[in-house]
Amino acid sequence: MTADVTTDSHDIAVTVNGTQYRRTVEARLLLSDFLRHELLLAGTHVGCEHGVCGACTVIFDGVAVRSCLMLAAQTDGHTVMTVEGLASDRDHLHPLQQSMHDCHGLQCGYCTPGILMTMKVFLDETPAPNEAQIREALSGNLCRCTGYQHIVDAMMLAAERLRG
């Protein structure tokens, strides 16, 4: 039985941050491990591997999902965006990232990529949120450093900037 799990593999073609990758993956390979250790997109962090902390959140076909709860094989033919897709480089931050910087919305920074992905989708759908809506949207992402206040401030600022 174990042998099946370790040998069963799938050929996938997945577009990540605009680049198409073709790989053969084990059936049981988590999307988080695929992104981090196969594609070397290590910006996606793994905090709990049971779908609670939100650190590994990526955007799958426009929806924020936990990459530790998906298999790489499920992404065949789909589109994934990770934190690496948000800015071209350190000097050209996305308004979400710039606002996090301006408001001191990160400390250790480990939960930050997941928060950016969650809030990217949220702000796309809710361009003019109030604080309660932001806290609700953020409540699926755990941060142990900041107490959330500066993240909430950053999201208010980012929403304003994105509205232009």
């Binding site: 370790t6 962090h45 905090g47 709990c48 250790c108 990529p113 699926g140 450093c145 206040q149 500066h150």
Partner: protein
């Protein structure tokens, strides 16, 4: 002129790398030929090991090796005692430290029995199921009071009644104070603290390079230098052969200062033995067992008061759960013992604790590090005293505050750093006044609470005071260097886990050397960049390493001025350093860039004067004589739903004094995060062990960290009483937010539910909706 960077809310240098996903964390280290480790851990709390058969695991395809304690040979040894017991007469301390892989006996769930090395993490974890372990279960030692009886099983066969330590400290004469007291109040109080739960679990990657004769270890440690030194000694290597890198670390909060975790001992050894790089990353389930945590204390405390509410004395006898081993000595219970005294003038104090071995994970400091437990005791006793003496809760605190002219204030007992518990400086009453003003204390009690109660709402207010011993020694060091490109590098031996060291240290240097904060490159946690240091703990990074950085920057400034004076053939007093260059005041065009000066200070040819050091560089060390004492007051208005016992924090105020402030933006972040962890501790987080020593809620779905919905917006204010113990006047701030939240919640909830009138007292933390229901619906 450049404006002063010290004290400014400057945005962080380290953010950009983290925001674009390019910061290196331990699990991001990828190396050719990497092997992956998985540890087989005990699933029972207490048992003798009869046999471990790893043959089937070794035969599994993809598995490279499997080791047990027997395979470690002479490398197997109990870990070091990190903090020896303080030299206090009558102290009992039974040292029993953790081992790399269990041999003969397991003493807590999660203790490692064997390690599998395989070509992938998936294969390594598969192979764990192939290992056959025969255990002879023993009764688990879980309850502290039962553990101390003759009938109890013993965690360590040769430690009678599980006594890990016993220590009494006293000041004055409590019995005499009690004899003349108008009121004596005695209570049993329980305070349980939980798991620090950083979002990044622990991890170790080790690479042995035989050609370079060097071992490199990436580790999530808060203490890279001590780890390097210990590892070199254990492996028989020279210290220069071991490089430890604590790269970006995803939160620590205390448990990552622990040395040596079994994995930190085993993984480097395996990498050398197999001559292949090895990675181990802890998963969240393991984290609940394999990483140290804090837990409970039971206090039997008594306070003696004069008729006017002045404290005459306090007596406290408490039990402390130290877990299966005690490598961190007595730091946590001594912090509890000392911090109980708070900002109050308590002339007579008699405190005795017994630390107890249990079959549970090891207890070492977690943010607050036992301070919470002591603060809970004194703050609750004062609340009850206020009730019984019919004195306002804020007023009874005010009457007992140490007056500003009493500093330095000696409490006459010994602190965790073995120095007398002496408060360096403070001015407590303005902090209390400010907090009461910001929360609107009088108005709430006089107007708002009656109005809201008339509407059927259950709202209450709380106010709690605390002090925090911070910035203890022994020392830290820093190297500051002007590079030929004009940028400045700073290296220090402490590790960083999000505190903003890359920015605050740069701010300190920027003021001395007149360069932009963004042009200062700070390196922490790499033993090849800086050799010496103790680590990041006890709210000491900014205080101790910050002052070392300052001293080094001042020394470099002096070198810059001297070189420039030679260059311009002028007096040093005629020079000004600003905007990355040195210029002669009042002489336009007479300026040289710092980089050009650095180049001149390290010439390729020619002669330098004897006694001249090359370069614009200095390494300096700073060690304070003792710790600096920060202080603060938290105040809160809470509403309780009487049906569900859920809470809504309507207002939360922190007024804090941590001496001079380097960066108010970063300081606010530290306070916010501390309060959030305090809220978790007060109302949401509890490690629930059953009578067999099994942790029943070892997942983030069951051990509830506060989310953005549970943590309220906080209002923060500061008063500034500089520390006289360091030139910058800094006190630490890392733990302050977390310390007084438990008693604050208990007090405010009691008020909201009008419990004093019902003779119900909340004498335990954590609370929760369920527990509140049980306690209030008898």
């Amino acid at each position: 002129m450049t404006t002063r960077k010290f004290g400014a809310p400057i945005r962080r240098n380290e953010d950009a790398r983290l925001l674009v996903g390019q910061a290196l964390f331990v699990d991001d280290v990828e190396l050719p030929g990497l092997l992956y480790a998985a540890f087989l851990r005990s699933n029972v709390a207490h048992a003798r090991i009869l046999s471990i058969d790893v043959s089937a695991a070794r035969a599994r395809p993809g598995v490279v090796a499997v080791y047990t304690a027997a395979d470690l040979g002479s490398y197997w040894a109990p870990g070091p005692l990190l903090v020896p017991p303080p030299p206090i007469a009558g102290i009992i301390f039974n040292q029993r430290t953790q081992v790399p892989l269990a041999k003969d006996k397991v003493r807590h769930v999660g203790e490692p029995l064997a390690v599998v090395l395989a070509e992938s993490r998936y294969l390594a974890e598969d192979a764990l199921a192939d290992i056959a372990v025969e255990l002879d279960p023993l009764p688990a030692v879980v309850d502290l009071e039962k553990a101390l009886t003759n009938a109890s099983a013993t965690v360590h066969d040769d430690v009678h009644a599980n006594v890990a330590a016993h220590l009494r400290q006293s000041r004055g004469n409590y019995a005499a104070a009690r004899a003349r007291a108008a009121h004596v109040i005695a209570r049993r109080l329980l305070y349980d603290h939980g798991a620090s739960s950083p979002m990044e679990t622990r991890g170790v990657v080790a690479k042995w390079d035989g050609r370079a004769d060097q071992l490199t270890v990436w580790d999530t440690t808060q203490a890279p230098v001590f780890f390097r030194n210990g590892l070199a000694a254990m492996l028989g290597l020279s210290e220069r052969q071991v490089r430890v890198i604590a790269p970006f670390v995803g939160g620590g909060f205390g448990p990552k200062i622990m040395l040596f975790y079994p994995e930190e001992v085993v993984i480097p050894w395996v990498a050398m033995k197999l001559n292949r790089p090895v990675k181990w990353i802890e998963d969240r389930l393991e984290h609940f067992f394999a990483t140290t945590q804090e837990r409970g204390q039971t206090h039997d405390a008594e306070i003696a008061l004069a008729a006017d509410g002045r404290i005459l004395g306090v007596q406290d006898v408490f039990l402390h759960d130290t877990g299966a081993y005690n490598p961190y000595g007595l730091t946590v219970p001594i912090n509890s013992q000392c911090t109980l005294l708070g900002p109050y003038d308590i002339p007579n104090y008699d405190s005795t604790f017994t630390a107890v071995f249990t079959n549970k994970p090891i207890v070492t400091p977690y943010r607050g590090a036992g301070r919470q437990h002591g603060v809970f005791v004194i703050e609750r006793l004062l609340d009850i005293a206020a009730q019984e003496l019919n004195i306002d809760r804020a007023e009874i605190r005010r009457r007992n505050l140490i007056p500003p002219d009493a500093f330095p204030y000696n409490n006459e007992i010994i602190y965790q750093d073995f120095a007398p518990l002496s408060y360096d400086s403070g001015n407590y009453e303005p902090i209390l006044d400010k907090a009461l003003e910001l929360i609107g204390y009088q108005k709430f009690l006089a107007e708002e609470q009656p109005r809201l109660r008339a509407q059927g709402r259950h709202v209450g207010i709380g106010v709690a005071c605390y002090v925090e011993g911070t910035g203890i020694g022994p020392y830290e060091g820093a190297k500051v260097q002007v590079q030929a490109n004009g940028k400045v590098s700073v290296a220090t031996g402490i590790g960083t886990q999000g505190q903003g060291h890359f920015t605050v240290f740069a701010q300190i240097v920027a003021d001395q050397l007149g360069v932009a904060v963004t042009d200062i490159d700070v390196v922490t946690g790499d033993t090849d960049q800086f050799y010496w240091g103790a680590g990041t703990f006890a709210s000491r990074g900014a205080v101790v390493a910050g002052n070392a950085v300052n001293e080094a920057a001042i020394a470099v400034r002096q070198k810059v001025l001297k070189f420039a004076a030679d260059h311009f053939e002028c007096a040093e007093e005629d020079l000004e350093i600003a905007d990355g260059q040195v210029s002669v005041v009042g002489v336009p065009g007479q300026a040289i860039k710092l980089g050009a000066l650095a180049l001149k200070a390290n010439p390729m040819r020619g002669a330098v004067r004897p006694g001249t050091e090359p370069g614009l560089e200095s390494t300096q060390y700073f060690g304070p004589p003792s710790g600096a004492t920060a202080s603060g007051v938290h105040a809160m208005i809470v509403e309780v739903d009487p049906q569900t016992f859920t809470l809504e924090v309507l207002k939360y105020v922190v007024v804090h004094d941590c001496g001079t402030v380097i960066n108010p933006l970063i300081l606010a972040g530290q306070i916010h995060g501390g309060v959030a962890q305090g809220i978790g501790n007060a109302f949401y987080e509890q490690l629930v062990f059953d009578e067999d020593g099994q942790l029943l809620n070892a997942s983030l779905a069951d051990y509830l960290l506060p989310t953005a919905l549970e943590v309220p917006r906080m209002e923060i204010a500061h008063t500034v009483t500089p520390s006289p113990l360091n030139p910058l006047g800094i006190k630490g701030a890392g733990e302050a937010g977390a310390i007084p939240v438990g008693p604050l919640f208990a007090q405010a909830i009691e008020d909201a539910l009008e419990l004093p009138g019902k003779k119900i007292e909340l004498l335990e933390i954590p609370l929760s909706p369920n527990r509140l229901f049980e306690l209030t619906t008898k």
